[in-house]
C-alpha cells in the first residue's frame, strides 16, 4: 500500500496477446488499454472467447502479454512478455485473486486458508491469525473458521476466497467469474462485498462476469468482444 490514492490501481496499455503463429495464430487480445482507479469497481462483460479472462490473467501477472505494458500502482511491471520485477513477490504484496472456483487449499481450514496468504507475506503468525479471524467475521463466516473447505457450502467457500484475496490489503483485486457457482442471492452478496471492499480500502477491483443481475453494484461496466474493449 505504498501508492498514492491518485494513482490508478492498474494501467494496461496497448496489451496484445497472440497464441500460436502462422496459420494457427489466434489474437486473443488486440491492443487493449484499460485503467482502473483505486476504489473503483469495474465489471468486464462479454461473450465466451472475447478475451476477458486472458486480459484478467495478463493483469494478474500469470499470463504475460505478447506486447504492451502493465503498470500497477505506478510501477512498470510488465513490458511485453518481460517481467520488470519479481512477479511472485509483487503478486504477494499487491494483488488479490478470486476465481470461479474458490480454489481453497483442501488441507487447511477456512481460517488457515486466509492466514496462509499473510504468513507467506511475512506477517507474524499471531497477527495473521487475528486478521484472518477478523476478515472471516467481517464476511459472516467466523463460525466456520475451523472447518475444512469440504465442510463449507459453495457460497461459504467463495467468501473464504474473498477473505484470502483481501488478506494482504491489496491495491488491486482481480476476480474471474466469482459468482458463477453461486445462486443469485449469494452472487449478489459477493458482488456487493467487492464494492464494499473497494470503497473501504481504496482497492481497484476488476470482475469478469457473465452475471448481469448485479451490475448495479459496479462503478463502470466494460464490454469486450474479439479481443477488444467496446467501451472504456
Amino acid at each position: 500500500m505504498n501508492a498514492s490514492p491518485q494513482q490508478p490501481a492498474i494501467e494496461a496499455i496497448g496489451i496484445s496477446k497472440i497464441y500460436g503463429q502462422g496459420q494457427t495464430e489466434v489474437i486473443a487480445l488486440n491492443d487493449v488499454s484499460l485503467s482502473v482507479a483505486r476504489g473503483e469497481v469495474i465489471a468486464l462483460l462479454g461473450p465466451s472467447g472475447a478475451g476477458k479472462s486472458t486480459l484478467l490473467t495478463a493483469m494478474a501477472l500469470i499470463n504475460p502479454p505478447t506486447s504492451g505494458r502493465i503498470v500497477i500502482d505506478g510501477v512498470l511491471v510488465m513490458e511485453g512478455a518481460d517481467a520488470k520485477i519479481d512477479l511472485r513477490t509483487f503478486r504477494r504484496q499487491h494483488l488479490g485473486f478470486v476465481f470461479q472456483k474458490a480454489n481453497l487449499i483442501p488441507f487447511l481450514t477456512a481460517l488457515e486458508n486466509v492466514q496462509v496468504a499473510m504468513e507467506i507475506n511475512d506477517m507474524p503468525v499471531r497477527a495473521a491469525r487475528q486478521r484472518a479471524m477478523y476478515l472471516l467475521d467481517h464476511l459472516g463466516i467466523a463460525d466456520r473458521a475451523n472447518n475444512l473447505p469440504d465442510a463449507l457450502s459453495g457460497g461459504q467457500q467463495q467468501r473464504v476466497a474473498v477473505a484470502r484475496a483481501l488478506a494482504n490489503q491489496p491495491n488491486l483485486i482481480l476476480a474471474d467469474e466469482p459468482t458463477a457457482a453461486l445462486d443469485s442471492h449469494r452472487g449478489r452478496q459477493v458482488m456487493e462485498l467487492f464494492a464494499q471492499v473497494a470503497h473501504e480500502s481504496l482497492a481497484g477491483v476488476i470482475v469478469v462476469t457473465h452475471d448481469t443481475r448485479a451490475l448495479d453494484v459496479f462503478d463502470r461496466i466494460i464490454e469486450m468482444e474479439d479481443g477488444r474493449l467496446l467501451d472504456g
Partner: protein
C-alpha cells in the same frame, strides 16, 4: 504455519499406510545389516571370549574352525614349557546333529579343558538356547549328559548353538563308535597281525591286538582340535609366535589371525551377498519413496499452483514436499527399529542391531528421503501459477 503437517493431518490414513510400507522396507534393510553383524558376532564369539592369545593347530592347517585340525593332546605339556607361556589347554570343536524329541538337534560341541578352563567366560543366562531345559538329560554316544546350565547368545559360525562339555566328554562324543564297529576294527587288527611275522612268532600279541584301542601304546590316543595358549603378562607375542613357528608339526595363529581367518571365509561371502541386497533394497526404497512423493505432489499440484499464485516463495513449496519426505523417512525408520526390535529375536539366526550401523542407516534414510523428494520438488517448481485456472 507448517503446511506439510497440515497436509498429513488431512490425509492421515494414506500417510500412515505409506509410512508403514516404508518402515517395513527399512526394517528389511536394517535386518540385512543386523544379519551381517550377527554373522560376525557368531563367527568370532568363541575367539573373542575364550581368552587365548595363541591357537596352536595341526601343521599347515587353518583350524579348528576354518578347517579340520588334529593334534596330540600331549602338545599341551610341550607348550607349557615354552618361556612366556602362562597356560595351555586343550580344545575340541566339532559339529553334531542328533534327533531329540523327534526334532533335529544341531549343535557345535565345544570341549573345554576342565578344570583348567571352567568356562567362566560362557554367559549363563536365558536367551537363545538349543531348546534343552535345565536338568534335562540328553544321550550322546553311550553316555547321558545332564544340562547343568543354559547359555545365552552363544552360537557358532553356522548359527548352531554351542554346547560346552569337558574335553574328554567332547572327544568321547566325537570318537564314539557302535559296538559292532569296534568289534570289526579289533578283528581287522587281529587279522592284519596274523599275516605278519610278529603275530606268527608271538601269538600273545594277537590277544593284545584284539583288545581295546586305549591299551595299545602303538596307536596314538584320540587327538584334540587345538591347544589354546595364554601368555604371561608382558610377554612379546611376536617373539613367542616366532619361537613356536620353528616347530614343524604345528601351525600358530594369534587370536587376531584366527578372527581374520573366520571373517575372510564364509563371512566375507555373506557380507558381500548381504551388502548387495542392502544396496538393492536402499535403491528400491529410494525409488518407492520418490514415486510416493511424486504422486503426493501430483495430488497437490493445484494447491501448489494456488500457493504460487498468492506469492508463496519456492522455499514454502520445497519445504512442503521435503518435510513430508523427511517425516515419512524418519517415522518409517523409527517404525523399522521398533518392529525389528520385537521381530528379529524370533529369526532363526542372530540379527544384531549395532548402534553405528543404526546411525549409518538413519543417515542413509535422511539422504534417500531428500533424494526421493527431488522428483516431486522438480515437478512442483515447474508448475505455473495459472494452472489454478484449469
Amino acid at each position: 504455519m507448517n503446511l506439510a503437517l497440515r497436509d498429513i493431518r488431512h490425509n492421515a490414513s494414506r500417510f500412515a499406510f505409506t509410512t508403514v510400507g516404508i518402515g517395513l522396507l527399512l526394517m528389511i534393510v536394517m535386518g540385512m545389516g543386523g544379519i551381517y553383524r550377527g554373522l560376525i558376532f557368531e563367527a568370532t564369539l568363541l575367539v573373542d571370549r575364550i581368552g587365548a592369545d595363541l591357537w596352536v593347530v595341526q601343521g599347515q592347517t587353518r583350524g579348528p574352525f576354518a578347517e579340520n585340525s588334529r593334534i596330540p593332546a600331549s602338545l599341551e605339556d610341550r607348550l607349557r614349557a615354552v618361556p612366556g607361556v602362562a597356560r595351555s589347554r586343550r580344545f575340541v570343536s566339532h559339529a553334531l546333529q542328533r534327533e531329540h524329541h523327534g526334532k533335529p538337534l544341531r549343535l557345535m560341541v565345544q570341549g573345554l579343558a576342565w578344570p583348567d578352563d571352567k568356562g567362566e567366560w560362557v554367559s549363563l543366562i536365558a536367551g537363545r538356547s538349543l531348546g534343552l531345559a535345565l536338568g534335562e538329560y540328553v544321550k550322546f554316544g553311550k553316555d547321558r549328559y545332564r544340562v547343568v546350565g543354559i547359555t545365552g547368545g552363544m552360537s557358532g559360525i553356522a548359527g548352531d548353538g554351542l554346547a560346552f562339555f569337558t574335553v574328554s566328554d567332547a572327544m568321547a562324543i566325537q570318537f564314539d563308535l557302535p559296538g559292532e564297529a569296534l568289534r570289526l576294527e579289533r578283528a581287522a587288527r587281529v587279522g592284519r597281525s596274523e599275516n605278519q611275522d610278529l603275530g606268527r612268532t608271538q601269538p600273545l600279541s594277537l590277544e593284545r591286538a584284539g583288545g581295546p584301542t586305549s591299551t595299545l601304546s602303538e596307536l596314538a590316543p584320540p587327538q584334540v582340535s587345538a591347544i589354546l595358549v595364554t601368555l604371561q603378562p608382558g610377554t612379546n607375542l611376536d617373539h613367542t609366535v616366532n619361537l613356536l613357528s620353528a616347530w614343524p608339526d604345528i601351525s600358530i595363529h594369534t587370536a587376531q589371525q584366527q578372527r581374520d581367518l573366520l571373517l575372510s571365509g564364509t563371512v566375507e561371502k555373506s557380507k558381500r551377498q548381504l551388502g548387495l541386497f542392502s544396496v538393492l533394497l536402499i535403491i528400491i526404497s529410494t525409488i518407492i519413496i520418490a514415486l510416493i512423493m511424486y504422486t503426493l505432489t501430483l495430488d497437490k499440484i493445484h494447491d501448489i499452483a494456488m500457493l504460487k499464485l498468492i506469492g508463496a516463495r519456492n522455499s514454502v513449496i520445497v519445504g512442503l514436499i521435503l518435510q513430508q519426505a523427511l517425516l515419512m523417512g524418519s517415522l518409517g525408520y523409527g517404525l523399522a527399529w521398533w518392529m525389528g526390535h520385537y521381530l528379529f529375536p524370533y529369526f532363526p539366526r542372530r540379527v544384531l542391531l549395532d548402534t553405528p550401523d543404526l546411525i549409518k542407516l538413519a543417515g542413509i534414510t535422511v539422504a534417500i528421503s531428500v533424494l526421493a523428494s527431488l522428483l516431486g520438488i522438480w515437478k512442483a517448481l515447474r508448475v505455473e501459477p495459472n494452472t489454478v485456472l484449469t
